[in-house]
């Protein structure tokens, strides 16, 4: 036991002596959560559009006014004929062109119907679709206004209630995700380097001839990083509560427990990577290249998992971040207890055990 404590001490010294890395470790997560918490949103606002108004009458002017005063659109330019659309799109700034047909007002009065054409630059399908939806809802409102004297019978009126996030703030969606990504990548990266570094610098031999058991070496490597990551997690949670006004509906204790569990999962993944690679470069490339994009894309951080093709939904199950994001949203936003998230928790536990088991088994006691 004394030997083991001595080993842990050595690891702490290594970490605290490298002031520059230490500064990066604590400074970067804070900088990132501040930046992303404010900047990342999948709402679509201030889209630049162009308008081709062929009738230029009172009605079209009114509609254009409504559109340009909404927060969704800003009218970038007015164009005069269809041939201008293509060059405008090619420049890339304008994302949609609204075309009012000729005699818009006249038709609306005489035939009770007029047509507005929405041409969108669908290279970005999400923005294109959303623009079309927003325009429709503005039109819908306008129609209600002009028809307000007519009472249509037999109306079914859906009353929607947005639960867990009534103001539809996208911060609620992204802060748990950013938190997960940062904890995951930092923890895995830190530990993945630790063993390979000893190999590369040649100090591995000393560890191998020491009377420490393989599992002691591995645990001794992880313990200091658990402390560092817990400090990181606390700072991030405090920032999300006080800066981004994230609620914590559930128990803080449970949140702490789950965070520690997730930190241990990421750290053991890092250890696994480091036992599998021979140079720091390989270890880092695996933990960065191998983890970054899959974690961002498959965890449900930005893109909803339920919309992905079935094979990818299955693959997403092996991404630890996916489960932690569900747990975080559950505790912070829905206020659920362990009985609602025991499944996700046990997945994380299981993964941790598998990672550690493989690492201990693969840990070579001989140099090549």
């Amino acid at each position: 036991m004394k030997r083991f404590i001595g080993f842990i001490k050595k690891e702490f010294y290594h970490i605290f002596r490298d002031k520059r890395s230490l500064f990066i470790l604590f400074g970067m997560p804070i900088a990132q959560i501040m930046l992303f918490g404010f900047a990342i949103t999948n709402e679509i606002n201030n889209v630049d559009i162009a308008i081709l108004d062929k009738s230029k009458d009172a009605t079209t002017l009114e509609i254009i006014n409504k559109i340009s005063s909404s927060k969704y659109f800003s009218v970038e330019q007015l164009i005069n004929n269809e041939s201008e659309i293509e060059p405008v799109f090619k420049k890339g700034k304008v994302k949609a062109v609204l075309i009012f047909e000729k005699d818009f007002s006249k038709k609306l009065v005489k035939e009770n119907n007029a047509t507005l054409q929405i041409i969108t630059d669908a290279t970005d399908p999400n923005t294109a679709n959303t623009i079309s939806n927003y325009t429709n809802s503005i039109l819908q409102k306008y129609q209600q206004e002009i028809n307000k004297n007519i009472k249509i019978p037999y109306q079914i009126i859906p009353k929607s209630r947005m639960v867990f996030n009534p103001e539809l703030k996208s911060v609620f969606m992204f802060v748990p995700g950013v938190m997960t990504i940062i904890l995951m990548l930092v923890s895995a990266m830190m530990t993945s380097i630790s063993i390979t570094r000893e190999k590369e610098l040649g100090t591995m031999e000393i560890l191998l001839v020491s009377p420490l058991k393989p599992f002691q070496v591995i645990i001794g490597k992880v313990v200091p990083y658990i402390f560092l990551s817990i400090i990181n997690a606390i700072v991030i949670v405090l920032l999300s509560i006080f800066v981004f006004k994230m609620p914590v509906q559930g128990s803080l204790f449970l949140l702490a427990f789950e965070s520690i569990l997730f930190i241990i999962t990421s750290l053991s993944l890092g250890i696994l990577i480091s036992t599998l690679s021979s140079t720091q470069q390989t270890a880092m490339m695996i933990s960065l290249m191998g983890l970054m994009l899959p974690t961002i894309l498959l965890s449900g951080f930005i893109f909803p998992v339920s919309s992905m093709p079935i094979p990818l939904q299955i693959i997403s199950n092996i991404i630890p971040a996916k489960w932690f994001i569900i747990i975080l949203k559950g505790i912070m936003l829905k206020g659920v207890g362990i009985s609602f998230i025991w499944k996700e928790t046990s997945f994380l536990l299981l993964m941790t055990m598998i990672f550690i088991a493989i690492s201990v088994k693969k840990y070579k006691i001989r140099l090549e």
Partner: protein, 373 residues
């Protein structure tokens, strides 16, 4: 010139001898491109839908059938009470609960008006908004049919003014996300590989101690830098080429514009990335530090590139920050040229920014590199 050739030869040998690295440089990015491009979709489908039907008439069931028929909704189950339904929502098993009130049909024909209550899990606010739109669409079309059936001769004839909107989606009629995402993800992969490799390269020599040998050999500063970075420049091109071929063969991404234009832009762009990597290398002592710093920038570049979330919706200060993001310009150019067939004139603004960036970045890198340990 001959000296540079030798350094390049040495670098290539080092890269190709490290058998552990080769699959990471060439196979992992390609795998990720092929697999992950399928994941990146904002399309809202398979919405986990459930209902509580208190009315339980053929009329209310007809409404449920409308939801069952829609491709957006995946009708999970029905619940006997709202309480059970809410608890399932807490567990995350359902995202939408539609509650049909008692006497739904009777009220509609008698009072000529009835409410439906819809509960939506709004943690993902944007998705919740879209789900709400879909629900309203379905209810409205159901309502239209119902009105036609329920209309009595005694009801007053009415005359509603309507404005129809006809959406048309240019360049991508089927709203296929892959054509949008594949070029973007390719950009990320090329950038990550080249930045990480170049960022770690020189600092590795420092850490292992071989940099001293380089310093005492009679090579000039510029020869050393060119020799070090050229191999990664080539690797970047290699990846881009493989990626473009796969984009065409597997995803059938349209390539309307001139491919030479893409390569030309990439040539300059890679200089920016490599210069950045070299710069990081100069300012760090260990590979660990170099890695942390490149990681920090890459995460910021990726998430603020407009690839996954729109830049226009960011606060003003954040939009200004993205002006310094090289990935943003590269993603823009790739999409403009490949999907819209933009010409050199169209991408001139992006091109001049990247060119300036390349000059500044490499200037800094050369300036900060000293041949002293």
């Amino acid at each position: 010139m001959k000296t540079i050739g030798y350094i390049i030869q040495k670098e290539f040998k080092q890269i190709f001898r490290n058998k552990g690295m080769l699959p990471i440089i060439f196979i992992m990015p390609i795998l990720q491109l092929v697999i992950l491009s399928n994941a990146a979709t904002f399309e809202i489908r398979n919405i986990k839908f459930s209902y509580v039907d208190h009315d339980n008439t053929s009329f209310s069931r007809a409404l449920i059938d409308k939801f069952k028929a829609s491709s957006y909704f995946n009708v999970v189950t029905d619940f006997p009470s709202e309480k059970i339904a809410s608890s399932e929502m807490l567990k995350g098993n359902v995202d939408v609960i539609l509650e049909i009130p008692h006497y739904f049909e009777r009220d509609l024909s008698k009072d000529k008006k009835t409410d439906l209550s819809v509960i939506i899990n709004a943690i993902d606010g944007a998705a919740a908004g879209v789900e709400n739109v879909y629900i309203n669409q379905i209810v409205r079309s159901f309502n239209k049919n119902a009105i036609a059936n329920l209309m009595q001769p005694s009801d007053k004839n009415y005359n509603v003014k309507t404005i129809d909107s006809i959406p048309s989606f240019w360049y991508n009629e089927t709203l296929n996300y892959k054509t949008y995402m594949v070029p973007g993800i390719l950009v990320l992969l090329v950038t990550m590989i080249t930045l990480f490799l170049s960022g770690m390269n020189i600092v590795r020599e420092k850490e292992i101690g071989t940099i001293e040998q380089m310093n005492v050999t009679p090579i000039k500063k510029h020869q050393f830098i060119i020799g070090k970075l050229f191999p990664f420049w080539i690797i970047g091109f290699g990846l881009l080429t493989i990626g473009l071929i796969l984009a065409k063969v597997i995803f059938n991404v349209p390539m309307i514009g001139n491919l030479a234009l893409i390569y030309f832009f990439t040539a300059i762009y890679l200089l920016v990335v490599l210069g950045m990597g070299f710069f990081i290398s100069n300012f760090t002592d260990t590979q660990q530090q170099a890695m942390f710093i490149s990681w920090f920038f890459i995460v910021i570049f990726i998430l603020m590139s407009g690839l996954f979330t729109p830049i226009e919706s960011m606060p003003q200060w954040a939009q200004h920050l993205t002006d310094f993001n090289p990935i943003k310009y590269y993603v823009e150019v790739m999409r403009m040229v490949m999907l819209k067939g933009a010409s050199f004139k169209d991408i001139l603004p992006q091109f001049s920014i990247i060119l300036t960036y390349a000059i500044v970045m490499n200037g800094l890198a050369v300036w900060s590199y000293k041949k002293i340990a």
